[in-house]
């Protein structure tokens, strides 16, 4: 899995992931989120447009990132999810906790 970080207006850090998010890549995602928080970023978005597949290990890494971000006084939101990720979020009742936004720019548009 590859990562690209960019910032968008509103002091939002966008972590764009590329590849399958499974037990092989989950720890790299945790590390990437930890690095952003250590660098002082608080408003994080995981852009999942190039993630064709996510399993419960990947979901667990996002939840770990969400908890770390909240402990640091920030948040982690997700954007641009595909059909398979939406299915996993629905099956696990996690859409309320990790609400998918259509685009990274919309993740913090209401605060």
């Amino acid at each position: 899995m590859d990562f690209t970080v960019s910032t968008i207006p509103g002091d939002v850090a966008v972590l764009r992931l590329s590849g399958k998010l499974n037990m092989v890549s989950a720890s790299a995602l945790r590390d990437a989120i930890t690095s952003l928080l250590e660098a002082g970023q608080r408003r994080l978005v995981a852009d999942l447009a190039d993630v064709p597949f996510m399993d419960s290990s990947g979901l667990g890494a996002l939840i770990a990132g969400l908890k770390s971000a909240r402990q640091a006084g920030g948040d982690l939101r997700i954007a641009s999810v595909g059909e398979q990720i939406r299915m996993v979020l629905q099956l696990t009742n996690m859409e309320r906790v990790l609400t998918p936004y259509d685009r990274p720019e919309e993740a913090y548009s209401n605060g």
């Binding site: 092989v24 667990g60 059909e83 398979q84 299915m87 996993v88």
Partner: protein, 137 residues
């Protein structure tokens, strides 16, 4: 004609991982272009959860070997997975989802939601797993 022969994978972890299972499924879907997207997506999700469970939890320290066979027939897709891991302490009856902020414990509920058959048995020192999903009509 649908090919009833299983497509098989022998996996040793480490160094193999679930990406080998994704690669096997790519070959399966390539050979069975008639399987609808929803079935592919659901079956792949269930099988990766199962394989992750086997690789992640069944390792007593020496690594594990698995053999996986995926069969696509006209009305169903099934996988049979045999592994050398520790005996599974498995409860297959309706498993509840964990708390919202739990970081694990969702694999089995996901599998149960996506397949029509899920079974586990321990025979001759091996774990035997079976999942099957009926194809969309």
């Amino acid at each position: 004609m649908v090919d009833p022969e299983p497509q098989v994978l022998a996996l040793s972890s480490p160094p193999d991982d679930v990406n080998s299972v994704h690669a096997l499924l790519e070959e399966v879907w390539a050979a069975h272009g008639d399987v609808p997207d929803l079935d592919r997506m659901a079956f792949e999700t269930a099988l990766i959860e199962l394989a992750s469970n086997v690789i992640g939890h069944a390792d007593g320290g020496e690594g594990i070997s698995c053999s996986l066979a995926v069969t696509v027939s006209e009305d169903r897709i099934e996988a049979n997975l045999v592994d050398t891991g520790q005996p599974g302490n498995i409860v297959l009856s309706a498993v509840a989802l964990p708390d919202d902020l739990a970081e694990s414990g969702r694999g089995l509920p996901i599998i149960q939601a996506l397949v029509d058959e899920l079974s586990y048995s321990r025979e001759d020192g091996l774990n035997r797993w079976h999942i099957a999903r009926k194809r969309e009509r």
